[in-house]
Symmetry: C2
DNA sequence: CGAGAAGTTGAGTTATTTCAACACGTGTGG
DNA sequence: CCACACGTGTTGAAATAACTCAACTTCTCG
């Protein structure tokens, strides 16, 4: 049994809509679970018997082609929800990018619980609507933006989403990506070489500093926004 | 006042979850409205004071860049839902592609009604989850597929969604697109020329017939699926 | 310290875009 | 009924952004 009362993401996750009694009930359904970087929680095309809340770490949602091409279609941060409630196989895989801690539920029992708790369902609807907006916004990037615009947009979005709690200006200027270059390429629909070249060029122009492989410092946010288009 | 009892899409739209009394209530909130092809119901970035169900016709959801580039991020068919419940400005425009008949609600009153009717909310959640899956699937296409694969995938998806009611094999082989070439290009993240060339090539290979500008006949579905990847 | 993974850089190739001309079809007015 | 003009779609040639392949460099970690 899981102790929702001490959950680190409780006030940000969908569970925030529940009162103490409901939380206790939900706690009986959930199991905390650790996942090492590189391991998957859901597989594309497989029946998905579970849903989950992320407590710590980052996961990617990805679709793969037969020949190995991969497109990352979503990034899951702490307090985000993973999975496909109400039936259906999972249309994408969910794989841990860092070591991850999740709160896992059997899909069927979570579905039942959700149906009985309209507030939870409402919270889930709002989140899904937000995710849909984000996905559609990303479609514009994938379909119509140049490599340079893609990288600039990516850096700006990550600087915002990674700040999370600490949303002061400093945290947004410098941050550490949880992704390697190949993963950035898979998010942007580019090759690893093009991604690397764009970052190098931005560093040469003084737009960013790259203190280490995964650290990014945005020197000129306004210029970056102008490039992102 | 709108008469939901005689609505042509009632059993397919989200309203299907409602009983007679609830339908009558909802009917008081809704207004039927006609929209000519080319006119918009929502504008990107504007506050969206309404939501709607489509009764007849087709609309596009699109995101535009300052320089005129456009990406279509969703296609809305009869019985589909349009709009962004629960606040927020509309992140995309919704524009009629054919003449359209919609059932429009003030967003605020629709939100209230939804909150009071968990079944409706449940239906809305399921639809939003489906839309999210579709959008993510499309992200793979936009980010990783070649022009040929894009066009093949598009034709197959349209053959399925346009069949709608008449889902016999004939209706899926030949169908009439509600889009012009430019709109197909905006859906696929290509130029109009590339789109045209791919279609011409498919006709030359005997994969499709193009009896008129908007008609498509898929001759070899299996081959088309192989190309779509 | 050494080996392997991850990232960068360069040179050449290619898919897609861009720019421009042309074809088709349809509706209007002479 | 024909001519013409406009919107839409097609085709061709040239330009280019991004990809591919390959070598090299830099980190990371045992």
């Amino acid at each position: 049994m899981t102790d929702c009362a001490t959950c680190v993401v409780r006030n940000r996750a969908i569970c925030a809509s529940l009162d103490a009694d409901e939380l206790a009930l939900l706690g009986k359904l959930g199991r905390r679970h650790r996942l090492r970087a590189g391991h998957s929680l859901l597989w594309e095309g497989d029946d998905a018997p579970l849903v989950a809340n992320v407590m710590d770490g980052v996961l990617k949602l990805a679709v793969a082609a037969a020949d190995g091409r991969e497109q990352i279609v979503g990034i899951v941060f702490p307090s985000d929800f993973i999975g496909r409630p109400f039936g259906k196989e999972s249309p994408y895989s969910a794989t841990a990018i860092t070591d991850v801690e999740v709160c896992v539920f059997h899909r069927a029992s979570f579905d039942d619980f959700t149906s009985a708790h309209p507030d939870l369902q409402h919270k889930l609807l709002r989140r899904t609507l937000d995710e849909l907006d984000r996905a559609r916004h990303w479609m514009m990037l994938l379909g119509r933006k140049s490599a340079e615009e893609k990288v600039a947009s990516f850096l700006l979005e990550m600087s915002e989403r990674l700040s999370g709690q600490a949303c002061d200006a400093d945290a947004q200027r410098g941050f550490e990506l949880p992704f390697g270059r190949q993963q950035i390429a898979d998010i942007l629909g580019l090759t690893i070489e093009t991604t690397s070249r764009q970052l190098t060029r931005m560093r040469a122009n003084g737009l960013v500093d790259l203190p280490s492989r995964r650290e990014i410092v945005i020197n000129d946010r306004a210029a970056m926004e102008a490039i992102a288009g």
